[in-house]
Symmetry: none
Subunit: 229 residues, 4 copies
């Protein structure tokens, strides 16, 4: 039997619990505002045990942040291939759903709030978050340009435009106002408008594509009807 020793197993499990607890506590109160007692309590163990896993508050913070970052790598789906409009729409919803999740927003606030104290954390997230995402979008956009469905010169700028048109406004708002989550309808409005502008600017057949977009948005304005208040 290649049984993983129970000890080892246990240790890994506990480390995960600590990192989860740390995420919660640091997210709620920031680095300085958080205290190790809370983390220990939240993780269900004592402070000395906590210190056996991470040698200092700072080390715990960094470890947690980098762990979260690694977790984020696989978050974004690769675009499907059912036609530009459908693809972009699907991508827009996927991305919005992820980026506007309360926990993602809390994490983003934490990073931004502490980036002056921990500059390397900001950079680390830039690399796996925006940069990786962007390169995913860029690959897709390049493909569509080769198929003459889109036209542009600077792929990076086009990708950033896509992101900015769809999410800049709702995400900025969400960062500043944690208690007001955007509704599905609001999101739909941003996505609809953002994609329309993007298509007008970058599609080789803007009129057709915008028409298709309008049709799709009418049909399927949102995915989760329940919270469409």
């Amino acid at each position: 039997m290649t049984a993983i020793p129970k000890r080892q197993q246990n240790r890994i499990e506990r480390e995960k619990r600590i990192l989860r607890a740390a995420l919660k506590v640091f997210s709620e109160t920031g680095y300085s505002g958080a205290n190790m007692d809370s983390v220990a309590f939240e993780a269900g163990l004592s402070k000395p045990t906590l210190y056996q896993y991470f040698e200092s508050k700072e080390a715990l913070f960094s470890a947690m942040m980098l762990d979260e970052r690694d977790r984020m790598i696989d978050v974004f789906q690769h675009p499907s291939h059912e036609g530009v409009v459908r693809d972009l729409l699907s991508f827009a919803w996927d991305y919005a759903d992820t980026v506007l999740r309360p926990d993602m927003l809390s994490l983003a606030r934490l990073i931004i709030g502490e980036v002056q104290r921990f500059p390397e954390i900001g950079r680390a997230y830039q690399e796996v978050g925006p940069d990786r995402l962007l390169s995913g979008i860029m690959t897709y956009l390049d493909g569509q340009r080769r198929h003459s469905r889109l036209e542009f010169e600077d792929t990076e700028l086009a990708a950033e435009d896509l992101w900015g048109l769809i999410l800049s406004a709702p995400r900025t708002k969400a960062l500043y106002m944690p208690d007001r989550q955007p509704t599905r309808a609001e999101l739909a409005r941003y996505i609809h408008n953002g994609l329309r502008v993007f298509l007008k600017a970058y599609s080789t057949q803007p009129a057709n594509d915008v028409a298709e977009l309008d049709r799709l948005m009418d049909t399927q304005p949102s995915r989760q009807v329940e919270d469409d208040d």
Copy 2:
């Protein structure tokens, strides 16, 4: 003469000094990380005096934040009227120069980082920052629509697009990476591209306007030549 009593005068002056000191200290280390000793020292007075002006750390923080917000109200210039393209370009630079200033970014990080602890601060800034700005842009865009120079249905979305296309990418990067300020050339690239997309999507004479934009960007790619590395 209804001379303001010297006492009164003095008090106001001192209060300003405290608020400036608070901005500096809180910006550098966040709310929890800052301590009242530093604020008092930075303001050049003793802690008890500081407490005479603000009854608690929390009160000082709120007061400082709201004061900064008020100061921000007059920050953005009203658009001039020399033609849409020139107007938008002038606005874009104005806005970029303001929003990407290191102190503005620090303040933004502070707000975002503390918004969960002080939700009203986030809302307050939303009102005078984005909202006021937006309504300024909206007024301008509405005017241009009346003159048939632009066309759109939803003014708010159009205004948000303008903002997002120009500044979403560089500002997001700047928030996450405090040590890497964007150069003038990078800014010019974002502005040029953002306005081109905006004009393509919203102008009644996209081809002409984009051509003019290209010409203007060539002529005057930046304002401060010295740091155009």
Copy 3:
């Protein structure tokens, strides 16, 4: 009025209290064994106040040690001049009374016990304690040599012999056994014997001097009759 400001006065007084408290606490339990709460309590103030006066435990320890050292500088009397035997006898008692005081022994134990952690403290005491004392004795012995009352080649060795003959045994015992203070009678025995050997070895008239010594020791075997148990 050249009134010293009460504040200043107070501060000095309090600092003295802290140093006294520190001496007590550190002497009792050593550096690591002592805690700042005890010092604060013993000094009659709160821990933060204590920290306003000394920035760390280590700083307090060093300051206290150096203060004690300075206090020690004036401790040893200069020898009088009533004849070698009388002089040496007087010096012997003076010195024994000082060096064997319980607080002096505690301090010595503290220095010796912590000298590996704070090497500079050991050196500092060596300079003002033994070294200064020795040079005082040496001056005196040199004088007596000039008057042909004593003879020797190496003044330093002679001085060290004087010290060693009188105090080495009782002080070593006292260092190792804090609960057993030497009685006056025991001290008298050490002094009598030590001086006798010293005179035999160094006096130009050993027989006479030893006889005088014996007479003096008979007459006045001790000074403080009360604890002559």
Copy 4:
């Protein structure tokens, strides 16, 4: 064969390792400054195992101290018999070499530093160290008195004088200044002078003996030529 069971053997071995580790750790940082982790690590076993051998830090300390004391019993050689001067000289070097060894000094500092916390330790060492040593010297001195080579009344005082004249000064210095070991030459100076004084005071043929001493010290000023810097 009444073979000792391997278990038993092992246990004894381990106990020795622990005691050696404890000596090292306690010597370096004192009782309070030392921690059980370091002892366990130094002994190459785990803390619980350590606790199986010694039920508490205090117990370990005491056991180690008493063990060291027992080890010390056989340290001092019995004086040979080649004539008083030669005997004393040989004894002086033997004793100096032992007492001034860095590990012996560290141990002495430890005892002195902790004697207030563990008074019985001080007494225990007094018994086997000074007391046993002293009674050895006393036996020898008594012998020489019987052979009319030395004369004195109080054997104990004579023995203490011998010790004090030779080692009081260098040992006291060494206790206070751990980083400055006395050189061979310095030791020779102390020994030469101490014995000369001793012989002048106690020999029945002082002139002869001092002459012999001078001759011996010239011939053989030290034993280990290499570090005679």
